[in-house]
């Protein structure tokens, strides 16, 4: 029972088909734009879950890796004219390396150091981004990225493909032996060390993967906005992603990804509430987090599968 069962596979492929059909039903760039954004959030929340959900070591600076990926791709394009496609390849490498560098000293420590270090690192990156405006464009960000695809729907298919493959890859990783070891690490590090497991290497490597996927999503998002903006480095974004992971059900990868997809869409559709939008959003989150211990998406899916079986 370690790998995808049939229902999970069929349903995830059906969801993919449904999302793939959207451009056939509407040519509205606004709708596709919202979906591209939502898929980026899904990658970010899923990648956050890879380390933090599985091991319980909470990363409060995921935006650092998202922003680093976005800025890497944007900078290569705007400063050197390097195609965005290469930016999407390079961004995960940049973010993954950053993740390893930050994880190396902090993931060895017990206690809240990792959470604090990631929070502070992203805050520093955000400030540096504003200070080094000659390079980063300051508040304006780096704009003028040359679009990669001819149309919005072409780019949508690229994002959907990369997003689906990324989330599936992360889910398979979580279901693999490595994922099992990470969950054991999350439960008791000392037992794992005594079981001959190099706990630090596992955590740091996984953090690098987590950061790399965040950077990939960052580059995809910058490629949609055609801008890398300092908002992508903000703590607000990190916290949003943590909340999405909680709502989805930590440690399940698909849960946070699906929650992110829905929450990103809900935020858009709540625009009708005007000023009260975030209040309503906050209330929904409050109810979900208060009423459910393991989030909403994963328990709901288990319940549904139980009813179908």
């Amino acid at each position: 029972m370690r790998f995808f069962n049939r229902t999970d596979s069929v349903v995830s492929l059906a969801a993919l088909a449904l999302l793939a059909a959207v451009p056939l039903l509407t040519s509205d760039n606004y709708v596709l734009g919202i979906l591209i954004t939502a898929i980026c959030y899904a990658i970010w929340a899923g990648s956050w879950d890879l380390l933090s959900g599985l091991t319980g070591r909470e990363n409060f600076g995921h935006s650092l890796f998202i922003g680093a990926g976005a800025y890497a791709a944007a900078y290569l394009n705007t400063a050197y004219g390097i195609d965005l496609g290469w930016g999407i390849v390079v961004a995960p490498l940049v973010s993954g390396t950053l993740g390893a560098l930050i994880g190396l000293p902090t993931l060895r420590l017990q206690g809240p150091y990792f959470a604090l270090a990631t929070l502070v690192a992203s805050a520093i990156a955000h400030t540096l981004c504003l200070l080094l405006w000659r390079v980063t464009g300051g508040e304006e960000g780096l704009s003028g990225i040359l679009p990669m695809a001819g149309s919005q729907s072409d780019y949508y298919y690229l994002v959907l493909t990369i997003g689906f493959v990324s989330i599936a890859a992360m889910k398979l990783f979580a279901l693999s032996d490595a994922g099992l070891v990470l969950r054991a690490i999350g439960s008791d590090e000392a037992i794992c060390r005594a079981a001959a497991i190099d706990v630090d290497a596992y955590k740091i490597t996984t953090f690098a993967f987590s950061a790399a996927f965040a950077g990939l999503g960052g580059a995809l998002f910058a490629g949609y906005q055609l801008t890398a903006a300092p908002d992508l480095l903000s703590s607000g974004l990190s916290i949003t992603i943590v909340v999405m992971a909680y709502v989805g059900g930590m440690g399940t990868i698909y849960g946070p990804a699906v929650a992110a997809l829905f929450l990103a869409l809900i935020v858009e559709y709540l625009r009708g509430f005007g000023e009260y939008r975030l209040l309503v959003y906050g209330l929904i989150l409050l109810v979900v987090v208060r009423l459910t211990r393991h989030g909403f998406v994963d328990p709901f899916w288990r319940w549904l599968k139980g009813r179908l079986a």
């Binding site: 032996d177 490595a178 099992l180 070891v181 969950r183 054991a184 999350g186 439960s187 008791d188 000392a190 037992i191 794992c192 060390r193 005594a194 079981a195 001959a196 497991i197 190099d198 706990v199 596992y202 440690g251």
Partner: protein, 246 residues
Amino acid sequence: MTDPILRAVGLTRAFGGIKAVSDVSIAVRTGSITGILGPNGAGKTTFFNLLTGFTKTGAGEVYLQQERITNLPPHLLARRGLVRTFQLAKPLAGLTVEETVLLPALRVGAGQDRRQARERAAYLLDRVGLAAKAEATSESLTYGDLRRLEIARALMLRPKLLLLDEPFAGLGAGEIETVSQLIHEIRDREEVTVLIIEHKLREFFKLVETVIVMVAGEVVAEGTPAEVVKHPKVLSAYLGERAYEH
């Protein structure tokens, strides 16, 4: 006589000026069941932590089969056959009983064939009497089950030296008997040397061949259980107060 499997020489560790372990030198005979006895706060667990790399030493050296292993990290020591259990047996949340035993074989580079590893895990679960609960979550086990599960997981690593930190803690009389038998079997069939920390005197003395007595961070006596109980320092420092409880 064969060389000792483990030697500690002048092992010392202080916490905030208080010496938890002070200049402790011991040798553990290969193939023996050796016990470390001492009242609470005698530094037994700290001593285990120093041997297994969980706590850095202040001074002194540790040798495993003549090889210096002082301050190597725990996971590397475990790979060399120095394997420990913990005073408090804890479940691994979300893992089944079988997965918990398999854990040492799942790491990258464990180099164990999956099928063989599963067979070994099944064999060990059977040995500790948990075969019927292989699919259960480890959180659903009783404390006695968890103790035996922990021993099975340790054996998965095919240890040369197994360090058991209070294996009887929290167990009832029947369970203590089971674990005692298990420890004997392990030594005989798996050719594992066993080093045990315990409080429970009666069962402990039945089980071990050599006893090392620690009081306030120092070794005060060493010998067979029969010799040790007569040792004046042991009587005054340890048994003097504990005898009433047993």
